[in-house]
């Protein structure tokens, strides 16, 4: 412990340590399950950003079925983030879809209530928390 203590002090004094206090107040979280399918040459998946601003909570939504589609910015309805639950509505050429699921500091998981299968065709969304800027999309598995 005596050896560990100086290390902890150093970490606390570094920019990372100083930033961590600020990070907790940042108000932005980004989630993604976008990957690249090299067999088809396509980007697949969804990415969601949640911005808690002063007036409201906004959600950035964009999916990829080959390439990224049009992004959407949604002002969340009151109660859209309640506890760990999340729901919001996505505009789509075939009509609005409602996403329901859960959100944590690690992931967003959910589905579309209209039975839509999503851009990966699996019927479920499982987006991991990601750091920005995005550096690379992983190969789809």
């Amino acid at each position: 412990m005596q050896r560990l203590l100086p290390l902890l002090i150093v970490i606390g004094l570094t920019p990372w340590g100083a930033a961590s206090g600020q990070e907790s107040r940042a108000g932005f979280a980004f989630y993604s399950d976008v990957c690249y399918n090299s067999q088809g040459g396509d980007l697949l998946g969804t990415r969601i950003g949640i911005m808690k601003l002063r007036d409201a909570t906004y959600l950035f939504y964009q999916d990829a079925e080959g390439k990224f589609g049009q992004p959407q910015i949604i002002m969340l309805a009151p109660g859209a983030v309640t506890g760990s639950k999340l729901f919001f509505q996505i505009a789509d050429s075939s009509g609005p879809s409602t996403f329901v699921g859960t959100i944590s500091d690690m992931a967003i998981k959910g589905r579309l209530t209209n039975g839509g299968i999503g851009p990966k065709g699996t019927g479920v969304y499982n987006l991991k928390r990601e750091r920005l800027p995005e550096r690379a999309f992983p190969e789809c598995r």
Partner: protein, 281 residues
């Protein structure tokens, strides 16, 4: 004075947890009911519908914005999408051949020719000038210019387009809301897709670059719809990327075999020749 770098870090590297709130209220400001609903069941019906003006992302320039705290949705306000089978474009009016032919009209459409869907009030393109494009490129590859719903003007291998037309008609008969996301991508765009955004796999030679693949908008489809679409595709002679070892479910394609790199080069030359012949819309 705030350190801008630190502010940037806050924004970009933030570790904010939506569930962490110093006030213990993870919902929107002013939502006093949120705390009480923490363990309550989710009620999607409470969500006000989106503004109908944002319903078609394909037609919206720039990011869409929805204020889901207001604006009732009226489904009747969605522009109707009507389908029609279109054939080849009228010949180039500047070419000697076209001057000997009557004006182009729907009655000229070959009944068994390419069946590509168009939308009312949009340019009825669905066109091809296969021979000219092929000859101009001095290559056996052929390229055609087509209109696909959800994509707009794109370029396809005419033999693939023929099959795609059959798939579109079959989907229409099965009441499958078929829209496309992407079709032709030239090699530069394909490379950019990988090089800028991925750094794991080497650049590949996609069938999108030979005009032999499309990506279907499957997100809103049900599993039953997709299953039916896949069987319709098989009947039309089109393969499905969902059968890849790593599934690519929006991807529908025909693999002509042979040397992919040569095919991409030949098809890109044919597309360039076609673009020289047909003005932009």
């Amino acid at each position: 004075m705030a350190d801008p770098y630190q502010t940037y870090q806050d924004l970009i590297w933030g570790r904010w947890n939506p569930l962490d709130d110093p006030n213990g209220d993870s919902a929107m400001p002013g939502d006093d009911s949120a705390k009480d609903q923490g363990a309550a069941g989710l009620n999607p019906s409470a969500l006000p519908p989106a503004d109908a003006s944002t319903l078609d992302p394909q037609t919206q320039p720039g990011p869409n914005f929805q204020d889901q705290s207001a604006a009732p949705f009226d489904p009747s306000s969605i522009p109707p999408v009507t389908v029609g089978i279109l054939g080849p474009l009228p010949p180039d009016s500047n070419s000697p051949q076209s001057q000997t032919q009557p004006p182009f009209g729907p009655s000229q459409l070959p009944p068994t020719n390419v069946g590509i869907l168009g939308r009312i009030n949009l340019p009825g393109i669905a066109a091809r000038d296969q021979g000219a494009a092929s000859n101009a490129a001095n290559s056996p590859a052929a390229a055609g210019q087509y209109y696909l719903p959800g994509v707009g003007v794109t370029y396809l291998d005419p033999s693939f387009a023929d099959k795609l037309g059959k798939l579109i008609l079959a989907a229409q008969a099965d009441n499958i809301p078929l829209r496309f996301r992407y079709a032709y991508r030239d090699q530069a765009e394909q490379d950019q897709l990988k090089h800028d955004l991925t750094a794991i796999t080497p650049a590949d030679k996609s069938l999108h670059s030979t005009g032999n693949a499309v990506d279907v908008h499957i997100s809103a489809m049900t599993p039953a719809m997709l299953s039916k679409l896949v069987s319709d595709a098989a009947a039309a002679g089109i393969s499905w990327g969902g059968n890849f070892s790593t599934p690519d479910r929006p991807h529908f394609y025909v693999d002509p075999g042979g040397n992919r790199s040569q095919q991409i080069d030949a098809f890109s030359r044919a597309v360039r020749a076609l673009k020289d012949q047909i003005p932009d819309y």
